[in-house]
């Protein structure tokens, strides 16, 4: 038994930290949160120059062949420091999916552009009427000769305004059962008929709605079989990187501790001298430790060649729920000033506690809501009977 990530991982972590010290400037972080675009081309290409966009890829495909523990160090440090890497996350997911189910041409033409940092890809799954029930997508793709014509609307198409492609889930057979009438496309964003409308969020991130009107693409943009879109989705969902809510919680803990050590409290004490603050910090620290362990178990199983489905759901569920709870409790320590935001100079911890409180809300929603994770744990982990209606 060994709970360390190992020497290779720790050495790599040190290298990642040095990289972040150099490239993750305050300007990069500030710009990301000011614009809400959690992607920065300069930073992204610096990652590419290190070869880290392909860090987990096998050497024969131009990657560095890093193991799950090294990748854990890389993604943990990025999340802990608040690096804007959402574009990397979605793009690598698509690259991985193409590697499994893409055509030879797609693999040759698209994957190198992703891994070199030239382009990013956004995800076109959710629609106004289908979120958790993603297979209920209604965006229509109809065949016309060698082409497909796409009409519909997607929501939460985050980074559509920066992406070169959208990985688009469409309905090609409205008569077939829900999961058997879907087809996936990789659509260039410069195709006529695509409109991107920004949507602002509670945590300051920018996402988008995207509208597709008479969008014509060649059949070569299709990924997987016609009406085989759900099979593609299954691959893509398995590659979905678990969001790093637990690292965000650790980052928040550090920020609150630093603030509490210097923030004056009545009676000449510091905030950290108060039982209420010590209790809230200690509670959040316990949860962050458990969240870390659930995440490391997932990496360990992956390192053994196993697909940690239930364990991944547990890590996601626990990490995000604990982050939300911690953010709520820790913000309380700031009192009235907790509502202040940057640039108010008296905003506690530069306004980051309040920001974490707002941002935490989305972590229990995206990448499979807490309810979806609980259903996976209950049905696949505990063997409880399926609760949702079939279909």
């Amino acid at each position: 038994m060994d709970f360390r990530l190992g020497q290779a991982s720790e050495e790599f972590r040190s290298e990642v930290r040095r990289f972040l010290d150099e490239h993750l400037t305050e300007e990069v972080v500030e710009r990301a949160w000011r614009t809400g675009t959690m992607h920065d081309w300069g930073f992204h290409r610096a990652l590419a120059a290190k070869g880290w966009l392909a860090a987990a890829w096998p050497p024969e495909l131009g990657g560095q062949g890093r193991d799950p523990f090294e990748m854990a160090a890389l993604t943990e440090e990025m999340a802990y420091r608040g690096a804007p890497v959402d574009g990397w996350g979605t793009s690598e997911l698509v690259a991985n999916t193409l590697r499994v189910v893409g055509t030879e041409e797609q693999r040759r033409s698209v994957i190198p552009r992703i891994l070199s940092g030239e382009v990013i890809v956004c995800l076109g799954y959710s629609e106004p009427d289908s979120g958790s029930d993603v297979a209920a997508a209604k965006t229509r793709a109809q065949r016309q000769g060698d082409e497909w014509v796409i009409d519909g609307q997607k929501v939460f198409t985050t980074l559509a305004h920066e992406a070169a492609y959208v990985f688009l889930l469409t309905r090609t057979d409205p008569e077939a059962p829900k999961h058997l009438g879907l087809t996936m496309f990789l659509v260039p964003m410069d195709t006529p008929g695509i409109e991107v409308v920004p949507v602002r969020t509670l945590g300051g991130e920018r996402t988008n709605m995207t509208f597709y009107t008479g969008v014509r693409v060649p059949d070569s943009c299709r990924v997987g079989e016609v009406n085989g879109g759900w099979e593609v989705m299954k691959v893509a969902l398995a590659f979905e990187r678990q969001p790093a809510a637990n690292q965000a919680a650790r980052r928040l803990l550090r920020q609150v501790e630093e603030w509490a050590r210097q923030a004056p409290a009545p009676g000449g004490a510091r905030v950290i001298d108060y039982d209420a603050a010590r209790l809230a910090l200690a509670r959040a620290a316990v949860a962050a430790e458990v969240g870390k362990l659930l995440g490391h178990r997932m990496h360990w199983l992956a390192s053994r060649g196993r697909l940690p489905v239930v364990e991944g759901s547990m890590a996601k569920l626990f990490g995000s729920e604990a982050f939300r709870e911690a953010a709520s409790q820790l913000l309380g320590l700031a009192g009235p000033a907790g509502v202040l935001e940057a640039p108010d100079p008296r905003a506690p911890a530069g306004g980051w506690i309040g920001h974490a409180f707002r941002h935490a809300q989305v972590t229990t929603i995206y990448a499979g809501s807490s309810e979806i994770q609980r259903s996976i744990i209950a049905e696949r982990g505990l063997g409880l009977p399926r609760a949702r209606p079939p279909g």
Binding site: A269, E289, L294
Partner: protein, 335 residues
């Protein structure tokens, strides 16, 4: 990261689990109430190496570490073993560490003939875990580590957990180690890990009872486990139970490896395992409906012990504050 047990650790778990499944059935657990001690079970466990299996070989023990001790405690918690497994393993290590196990103060402890335990808090009198059956109590007296020898009362102070707790009355210790109060602190941290493992084992068993009942019990024509109001709460418990299993293992591993974060992890493990055990037992009890509230069903055995074992460390908030001291240092000023 390697979360696999070694073959010898696997064997240890297998052997104790098999023994406890037989010798610590719910019937035996009930029969051992209200004292919470089954002499036959204790003799079996002592024959298998409790409590000396986690004492260094140089001190005449089995050479196991805190992890091996905790694995046995987890199995004991799973089966609600009415035997002072946690207490005696922690006390034997403390006595060995202080060089007292082989001396008169530790007489009979290694073989299990004399039950040993830890007094966790300061001052006397205090309520001591396994105090009803313990002849040897390792505690603290001012700056010193102290060992009391006494005739165990043989009856528990009446308690809702059916644990063999009893008062340690003021009296002269049989031995002291001057200035070794920090050894008591270290022993208490080990007890936190072992009790955490015991509670995590209890939590898993309670979860399994709840899941089993949710599959078998039909209402409105379907198993109640098909209702998300039930299933999702059990999923939350299952997640916490897995987390509890990981954190006590990490704490035990860190202690054996001598890592500086071991004391922090000991507190964390105990706190999280204690909360998880109570939650697992309470949720499973709740999903049993009215039956769960009766004494005929087994879930109440878990519910009572979950809180009882956790309570023995003192006020939860106090343990959180102790953890904060370990994490952030003592308060600079008293507000």
């Amino acid at each position: 990261v390697d979360l696999e047990l070694s073959p010898s650790q696997e064997e240890l778990v297998r052997a104790f689990s098999a023994c406890l499944a037989k010798e610590s059935s719910p019937e035996r657990v009930r029969q051992a109430e209200p004292l919470g001690f089954d002499p036959g079970l204790w003799r079996r466990l002592a024959d298998m190496g409790v409590p000396s299996l986690a004492v260094p070989e140089a001190a005449g023990g089995g050479g196991g570490g805190l992890l091996e001790a905790a694995l046995v405690c987890e199995a004991a918690g799973r089966h609600l073993a009415p035997a002072p497994v946690v207490e005696s393993l922690a006390a034997a290590r403390a006595l060995a560490g202080a060089g007292l196990l082989a001396g008169p103060a530790g007489e009979g402890v290694a073989s299990g003939r004399a039950v040993a335990t830890l007094a966790l808090g300061p001052g006397l009198p205090q309520l001591v875990p396994a105090g009803a059956v313990a002849e040897v109590v390792v505690g603290r007296q001012g700056p010193d580590l102290a060992v009391w020898r006494r005739r165990p009362p043989g009856v528990a102070a009446p308690n809702f957990a059916s644990l063999p707790v009893a008062w340690l009355e003021p009296g002269p210790p049989a031995a002291t180690v001057p200035g070794a109060g920090d050894r008591h602190q270290a022993a208490r941290d080990e007890w936190l890990v072992l009790a955490g493992a015991w509670l995590a084992g209890l939590a898993r068993a309670a979860l399994e009872l709840g899941v089993g009942y949710a599959k078998a019990r039909h209402q409105f024509g379907v198993p109640i486990g098909s209702f998300q109001a039930v299933a999702h709460r059990l999923a939350d418990v299952a997640t916490a139970v897995d987390g509890a299993g990981l954190i006590w293992q990490e704490a035990a591993w860190a202690a054996d490896a001598g890592l500086p974060e071991a004391p922090v992890l000991a507190s964390m493990a105990f706190l999280f395992c204690a909360e998880t055990a109570e939650r697992a037992a309470a949720e499973s009890l709740h999903f049993h409906g009215g039956y769960g509230y009766t004494l005929e069903y087994d879930i109440q055995l878990y519910f009572r012990r979950a809180r009882g074992m956790a309570q023995l460390a003192g006020e939860p908030a106090a343990e959180y504050l102790a953890l904060a001291d370990k994490l952030y240092g003592p308060r600079s000023t008293g507000p």
